[in-house]
């Protein structure tokens, strides 16, 4: 495993040697910032109106967490769904397209070193986006007093979600030489996993409903967003990541045959 760092470092450098990473991260900051401030604007307006009409009893129902932070986090999940595949799309398909995969597979590296190294590089980008997300609620603590526990659990869930998407997108990237195909397929898989939960509500067969609901990423984020970290949710995402990385390992190994 001593080459993991070499692989990950090269990968990270290559993220930032083209404008792609800057554009994607910049887009993320702008969108999350916009949603945050839009929600904050609405919140302040409502609070002002409540005070005008003297209905102070209603104020208790209006919290920064519920009205500002949660919608921002929800929106950031959608952004992760699109941006993580765009970040991860090149990690293997580019190696295949420019035949540098031949260099990797004829070097004294194990498949796990290649897989983990690449994955960690994408994970670092995901971590960066989570830090950006955390910046806005932190800003609120300067002026108000939002509850911090739901913020922390929300960020953790966003990170787990991003880490799962990253693992899945890395696997998809190993299946094709085309980055565009890799990105589109990963985004579609992400969307399907997200809407499985709502779709399950229309299923009449009980066992099928429970299964679909369990498989959906949505199911495992609802509680975390309001501050409850459930071990089954964490296990779901860790299992998702482990499963994707196993598939990725097998896929990279089989590149020797393709």
């Amino acid at each position: 495993m001593r080459h993991v760092g070499d692989i990950a470092t090269r990968e990270l450098r290559s993220f930032f040697s083209t404008p792609v990473a800057y554009v994607l991260l910049g887009m993320y900051l702008v969108f999350v910032g916009y949603i945050f401030f839009a929600n904050l604007g609405v919140f302040l307006k409502v609070v002002q109106e409540i005070q005008q009409y003297g209905r102070l009893d209603l104020l208790a129902e209006w919290s920064l967490n519920q009205q500002v932070i949660q919608p921002t986090f929800q929106a950031s999940l959608i952004l992760f769904l699109i941006l993580t595949p765009l970040l991860a799309m090149r990690v293997f398909s580019e190696e295949r397209a420019q035949s540098t995969i031949e260099l990797l597979l004829t070097s004294p590296l194990t498949i796990w070193e290649i897989v983990i190294g690449k994955y960690l590089a994408v994970l670092a980008m995901v971590g960066l986006m989570v830090l950006f997300t955390g910046f806005y609620p932190l800003l609120l603590t300067l002026y108000g007093n939002p509850e911090l526990l739901p913020v922390i659990s929300g960020l953790l869930l966003i990170f787990l979600y991003g880490a799962s998407l990253a693992a899945m997108a890395c696997f998809v990237s190993s299946l094709t030489k085309s980055q565009a195909v890799a990105a589109i397929v990963s985004i579609v898989i992400g969307i399907v996993l997200m809407i499985l939960g709502p779709v399950a509500e229309y299923t009449v067969v009980d066992s099928a409903q429970a299964t679909l609901r369990y498989l959906s990423t949505q199911t495992h984020m609802q509680e975390g967003m309001v501050g409850v970290i459930r071990s089954q949710d964490v296990m779901y995402f860790l299992g998702f990541i482990a499963f994707s990385l196993m598939l990725l390992r097998t896929s990279v190994e089989s590149l020797r045959w393709r």
Binding site: E102, L105, S107, P108, R256, W257
Partner: protein, 243 residues
């Protein structure tokens, strides 16, 4: 240094390589000849451990490629047909990266990278981004990544393909130099016959997945030319449709 025993490679219903065997001794420079589609690249990919053979055994520097892949791969420097380069990296950083993944000890790394850059005439472009280099220079970077860990065996797949005559001569000189130094073993594939005569002392000719000729250059040529031998052994066989 290289031992190949009854190696075959089948793709679905097509046999690319059919039970070939040969040995290459330390310090030999072997020209691996054959028409396009004869199995040259497939054989080289098996030698480097990129492709697993369907059957047979390959040993590099007395390490079995199947049983001890990491040790065997460490002994090999490989320049594939398309040089494996990251276009966005700078030459020096790329060669350093390859040194790292090829297990070059940290204490020797700077020195070996320097040596590889110098041997391939890359000192002047070391800070340049690979994308901006000419094809000839890209090929040199390809050679630098193949030799940076000072492998005992060098495997070069059509190292002069697509270069202009000046670049071809430069790369050939470079290969000859690399081969002469430290008694390195070199296997070089090509379908350019003068290249073999310019660089190699031994010839292996593969056609239809089988070794047809194996011997020293003089021995193989006899009284005819290398081209005659090539046409005789690798031309379309009687009763077989030529594509």
């Amino acid at each position: 240094m290289i031992r190949v025993e009854g190696v075959s490679k089948r793709y679905a219903d097509f046999a690319a390589v059919r039970g070939i065997s040969f040995e290459v001794a330390r310090g030999e420079v072997v020209g691996f000849l054959g028409p396009n589609g004869a199995g040259k690249t497939t054989t080289m990919r098996m030698l480097t451990g990129f492709l697993p053979p369907s059957s047979g055994r390959i040993q590099i520097a007395s390490q079995d490629m199947h049983e001890q892949p990491l040790q065997a791969r460490r002994a090999i420097g490989y320049l594939p047909e398309i040089p494996p380069l990251y276009p966005e990296m700078r030459v020096e950083r790329f060669v350093d990266y390859v040194a790292r993944i090829k297990d070059v000890a940290k204490s020797e790394r700077a020195e070996k990278v320097e040596h590889a850059l110098k041997a391939c005439g890359l000192q002047d472009v070391r800070r340049q981004v690979i994308r901006t280099l000419s094809k000839g220079y890209k090929q040199r970077v390809g050679l630098a990544q193949a030799i940076v860990h000072e492998p005992e065996v060098l495997i070069l797949d059509e190292p002069t393909a697509g270069l202009d005559p000046v670049q071809i001569r430069e790369i050939r000189d470079l290969i000859r130099e690399l081969a002469a130094k430290d008694g390195r073993t070199v296997v070089l594939s090509t379908h350019i016959l003068p290249e073999v005569e310019a660089i190699c002392r031994r010839v292996l000719l593969i056609s239809h997945g089988e070794i047809r000729v194996d011997g020293s250059l003089d021995e193989v040529k006899g009284t005819s030319t290398l081209e005659d031998v090539f046409m005789r052994e690798a031309g379309p066989r009687v009763g077989e449709a030529s594509a």
